[in-house]
Symmetry: C2
Subunit: 207 residues, 2 copies
Amino acid sequence: MNFPSKLIEQAVSEFEKLPGIGKKTALRLVLHLLKQDKESVELFSDSIVRMRSLIRFCRNCHNISDNELCSICESLKRNHSLVCVVESIRDVIAIESTNQYHGLYHVLGGVISPLEGIGPEEVNIESLAVRCSNGDVKEVIMALNPTIEGDTTIFYISKKLQSLPVKITSIARGISFGGELEYVDDITLGRSIATRMPYENYLVHRE
Amino acid sequence: MNFPSKLIEQAVSEFEKLPGIGKKTALRLVLHLLKQDKESVELFSDSIVRMRSLIRFCRNCHNISDNELCSICESLKRNHSLVCVVESIRDVIAIESTNQYHGLYHVLGGVISPLEGIGPEEVNIESLAVRCSNGDVKEVIMALNPTIEGDTTIFYISKKLQSLPVKITSIARGISFGGELEYVDDITLGRSIATRMPYENYLVHRE
């Protein structure tokens, strides 16, 4: 594409660096911003720079935070004996959106992946062990994606914590609510029968 | 969605205002920027603010420009007796990308649309008439989208320019190269036979 303006070209090439944004979409976004008034474009731009420069990571759980401790770790309403282990901040936001979980989190920032050269030291596992060793934490819930890397990480963490008086659980795996049996993959369906749950638990979900 | 950080929330809500960007995509873009170093985020942000505050519109053709005249109107390599009338800047970029056109442009900035309350005064038609009246322009090529509004605008412009010694043409309408006859709509196919072109012209396109 030939641009009649260097300024537009630069802005388009910056937008293009974002994931999932191609040249045509980048141009559409830039031309949209061009139509907005200067103040709202500055607001847009400021919010990004401020976010990047002022954001911190929670000292306790590595979640993103505006302060030294994130709002979840700081809250007295949350159950501090429960820690949910997730891969990324996005998982925290997804679980928070359910409004079903009232414990704390621990953001690993990745999963162990020998193929990509990510060892246990690259992810926040050591700090999880420290958190679990002070006696406050009673249960650690594993909420990692069911990939080889996720399962490896769960296994590593469970070994690491086995000497501590902490119960290790995993989020339930099975058929989605709304999922139709005939379209479910064999492994999920087979394991959902092997790991069937009491009817009382099923009712909890229906509330 | 509940965000653990106000800074993230603000940045996400700013991204969400862009066309075609929903909450989940906005979050993905923000978390991507969060992972970049501060300098590249500032570069991203600067390019947008600079684009918005420094961009100008060409005095001659209303195209976007870094200076008073756009690089196309300024170029001595372009044919200044040819003016292609388009609706938006995006159309200029599309035509420039073909590398087939070497004349100038005239960006209307919209089309006449009585339904949306856009009259001939709201689009840059008057300045086109002024450009055509000084004798330099020999031909005006209409390259508007084939909608009712586009056709109305072409009709209005042709009436406006009819007393001037300017030839008015339209970009060719017909079957796309690569289009298959059986899938083409009836109007296009019917008109493509009625407005068939000499074989020599067909060969030009095959080059």
